[in-house]
């Protein structure tokens, strides 16, 4: 592989890594600046998915001239797959627990559809009739 091609690949890889590190910094700033749990979760998911995928792409490109085999590429793909599958699940569960235990600021929510549904269900249970909306 020629030296020029290796240099181009290295530049692409380092730009990917730089973007990933920048997303980590953005998440850190968002953790400090944002007011409540849900918006912090919004900013914290950026380096966990997009940042990590960029970093994995960067590692893969950087490893191309050295050694590219099934084990390395498969490990990178597995890391990306696990992260993409598990981060939404963990975020959903954390947000749900935060909502149910009252750890979010309700004055920052523009529209709270879950509260509307819970209210409808509670009225339906109290009145002993079938609910208007499925809760």
């Amino acid at each position: 592989m020629s030296d020029q091609l290796v240099a181009v690949l290295d530049w692409i890889a380092i730009l990917c890594l730089l973007a990933g590190a920048l997303l980590s910094l953005v998440a850190g700033v968002g953790l400090i600046r944002f007011p409540d749990l849900l918006s912090r979760m919004h900013t914290a998911a950026k380096p966990q998915v997009l940042g990590l995928l960029l970093v994995l792409v960067g590692i893969g490109i950087r490893l191309i001239p050295e050694e590219t085999n099934v084990f390395n590429v498969g490990t990178l793909l597995l890391v990306g797959l696990f992260q993409v599958v598990t981060v939404p699940v963990a975020g959903h569960i954390a947000a749900r627990v935060g909502y149910r235990t009252g750890r979010i600021r309700e004055d920052l929510i523009v529209r709270d559809e879950l509260a509307e549904r819970l209210e409808a269900k509670r009225r339906a249970d109290a009145g002993g009739r079938t609910p208007d909306t499925e809760a």
Binding site: A21, S24, L52, V55, R62, E66, L76, V97, R100, L118
Partner: protein, 106 residues
């Protein structure tokens, strides 16, 4: 090009510092768990930058382990919080949800 590698390190250091600050001052345990997740993502990025800088694929299984560990950690903290719903709510601006089905349904 060395400048860019150093820049990556500095960005990650700043991100970890901000995450630690949020972990210290975070009002609830879920905020702390969230900042631990951000720290873990920064760690993954840092180990990845190490592997890319040295062209060294031997640390790649560590990335695999860390990505699964972050998932298990945040899930277990969330479940631990869900079992104790009347724990302290530190900031005075947070309203306490009076709905009767809270806390027990997850």
């Amino acid at each position: 090009m060395n400048v860019l590698w150093i820049t990556i390190g500095l960005l990650l250091a700043a991100a970890v510092l901000l995450g630690v600050i949020r972990m210290v001052i975070g009002p609830s345990i879920l905020d702390r768990a969230l900042s631990v997740d951000v720290l873990l993502a920064s760690t993954l990025t840092g180990i990845g930058a190490y592997a890319a800088f040295h062209r060294d694929p031997t640390v790649l299984p560590t990335l695999l382990v860390l990505s699964l560990l972050g998932f298990i950690g945040s899930i277990s903290i969330a479940k631990f919080v869900a079992r104790r719903p009347e724990e302290h709510v530190a900031t005075p601006t947070e309203p306490v949800d009076p709905s009767p089905e809270e806390g027990r349904s997850s």
